[in-house]
């Protein structure tokens, strides 16, 4: 099976060389890798045990022993940020998976079939877009009860129309191409053409959208857990840490500063990564930048 990539004349090595010259990509890649490493490391090691409350150490400012200070239960903020990263990444990643898993087939199907099927699917898409995503996520988590799993579902549902729209737009641009005509002449069906020719050609597009939705998912999860609708204590989450920090702003501002910075850096890294990938693989977008 031959894949028809958008950039057939470039070898993998050439793309890689280009990637390493792209500042946005390198910065984003390094940040993302560091955050992932931090989340994974938390499974085997954290500076302190996040489940152990040491009341005598409560609300201490940043010191050598506690780099980011301690919270109102004397827990180490750095350790909580490390463990919280797991939660943020898991929720956002699975939500992207749900969005891609359902949205991409729907969008590709709509593009392949066209006509009434396409129109109907896109109208449903518009309907979902009419609901402010955060409001609906709050409703969903309120109905099924707060928790990480329901946060995933709530965020995932709103990723579906995004990926459906991107996949459809991408696929519609591919269908009139000559190699599709050749595949049809060879007797391939629409489903086979979609899987063998259309999807590989829109993979880049989906990858870029995936990093964007990943970043948005991290922000959405933080918002939900700030409202008490995400992961439940004692599982640390970045949003929940900010909620706990709010009433203690005057005595312990570090409780708010560091978890917030963790969110900003993670989202920034993912956005840079997405921008970088788009830059490297899509010559048109480079012209615009």
């Amino acid at each position: 099976m031959t894949l028809h990539l958008e950039i057939p004349e470039e070898t993998f090595a050439a793309i890689l060389a280009k990637a390493f010259r792209n500042t946005a990509f390198v910065t984003g890649f390094v940040i993302t890798l560091l955050i992932l490493a931090m989340a994974l490391a938390s499974y085997v090691w954290t500076p302190y045990d996040v489940t152990k409350l040491v009341i005598s150490d409560k609300t201490q400012g940043p010191t050598l022993a506690h780099w980011f200070g301690t919270d109102h239960f004397g827990r180490d903020i750095l350790s909580m940020i490390m463990v919280g990263a797991r939660n943020s990444i898991a929720v956002a990643l699975v939500a992207v998976g749900i969005g891609m898993g359902v949205g991409v087939p729907l969008g590709a199907f709509a593009a392949a079939r066209g006509g009434l099927v396409d129109e109907a699917l896109m109208r449903i898409n518009d309907l979902v877009f009419a609901f402010p995503a955060l409001l609906s996520a709050i409703m969903i988590t309120a109905i099924f009860g707060p928790g990480a799993i329901n946060a995933i579902i709530a965020i995932g549902i709103f990723n579906i129309p995004v990926f459906a729209r991107v996949a459809r737009a991408g696929a519609l641009a591919i269908w009139p191409r000559e190699f599709i005509l050749a595949a049809r002449a060879a007797g391939k069906g629409k489903t086979q053409i979609t899987i063998e020719h259309v999807l590989p050609n829109i993979a880049t597009l989906l990858l870029v959208q995936g990093t964007i939705q990943f970043a948005l998912g991290i922000l959405a999860e933080a918002g939900l857990s700030y409202l008490g609708l995400g992961a439940q204590p004692p599982m640390p989450s970045w949003g929940r840490m900010l909620f706990d920090a709010q009433t203690r702003m005057t005595v312990a501002p570090w409780m708010a500063i560091f978890p917030g910075m963790a969110i900003v850096i993670t989202v920034l890294g993912l956005n840079l990564l997405g921008d970088g990938i788009a830059d490297i693989l899509d010559p048109k977008s480079r012209r615009q930048r």
Binding site: A130, P132, Y226, L227
Partner: protein, 315 residues
């Protein structure tokens, strides 16, 4: 143009009807009996049954939907279970906080983003562009509620310039009321402004590559005039689209921001109503927000024609 207008209106209305069915159906499956909730755990089954009948909760599903949807159209939203006042009064009272908040935020975001986008696009690749787009990249990554906490720390706790939260009401005078909306509006606006600045810049750069820009420059028009009169106007369509989308973000954003600042707005109302199982309030506010989003998107669609005369004849 008229057929286009009618078609857009019909689609908007159909979306609204579908949305109302979805909202109604979703809240039907919510656990918890509102009558039981109002009377408390000690009430007898008979009492609960009586109240259920009074509230019309025992009527068939379709009738209840029609009754509710008909009420929405005539702005009769029913009575709140927990506040025991007409929902419309609650909404009106809360809207007096949320609407100014969202509008101030939208205005702030536009006023910041368009000049930054213009500045960046006209200095593409130079230091000014790199710095402002770096700042925008950072702004996109900042969660608005964290930014709100930082603003509270600096301006309310540290400098004591504005209150840290709460709302004195418009009755206390326009200035104190506006002052308490200032930080929330800035918190809402900044991340949106960052997105808008990026969109404005890339739309402008696209336009600045066009032939008619070169023509305008070649005939001796100053760069500033070309930028404002020719380029910006042609770059308006993507900018307007994002502005429309941002309105929805701002409305939803008020839910979190109003909770951060303890503002008695629509967002806080709906959040509390969800946790208190005050279904009728949830239904009404959600429908109101959805209607607002649909209306704004319709307006954006129609404004394309106002901005771009080429689109007027078409469709």
């Amino acid at each position: 143009m008229t057929t286009y207008l009618l078609k857009r209106l019909a689609i908007a209305f159909a979306t609204l009807v579908l949305a109302s069915i979805v909202v109604f159906a979703v809240l039907e499956i919510l656990p918890g009996d509102p009558a039981r909730l109002m009377l408390g755990m000690n009430a007898s089954t008979d009492q609960v049954e009586l109240l259920r009948n009074q509230m019309g909760l025992n009527a068939p599903l379709v009738l209840r939907y029609l009754h509710w949807a008909g009420g929405l159209l005539s702005l009769d939203f029913g009575r709140s279970y927990t506040y025991s006042v007409p929902v419309i009064d609650l909404v009106r009272e809360r809207l007096a906080v949320s609407l100014p908040l969202a509008l101030i935020a939208l205005a702030l975001s536009t006023v910041i983003a368009i000049p930054v986008g213009l500045f960046s696009a006209s200095r593409r690749g130079r230091a000014g562009d790199t710095i402002s787009m770096g700042a925008a990249q950072l702004g996109v990554a900042v969660p608005n509620f964290w930014f709100a906490l930082m603003l509270i720390y600096v301006f309310a706790v540290w400098l004591r310039l504005v209150p840290a939260g709460g709302f004195p009401g418009w009755g206390a005078g326009a200035w104190p009321a506006l002052k308490s909306l200032l930080l929330p509006a800035v918190a809402l606006a900044l991340p949106q402004a960052a997105i808008l600045a990026r969109v404005t810049r890339s739309a402008l750069i696209e336009v600045l590559n066009e032939d008619y820009i070169r023509t305008a420059r070649a005939k001796g028009l100053p760069y500033r005039a070309v930028l404002w009169r020719h380029a910006l106007r042609n770059a308006m369509i993507p900018v307007l689209t994002i502005l429309g989308l941002q309105f929805a973000f701002l409305l939803a954003g008020t839910i979190i921001i109003e909770n951060v600042f303890y503002l008695p707005g629509l967002g806080r109302l709906v959040f509390q109503a969800i946790t208190q199982r005050d279904l009728i309030v949830v239904e009404s506010v959600v429908m109101l927000l959805v209607a607002a989003v649909i209306a704004v998107n319709l307006l954006v669609d129609l404004s394309y024609a106002a901005v771009d005369p080429r689109l007027r004849g078409r469709r």
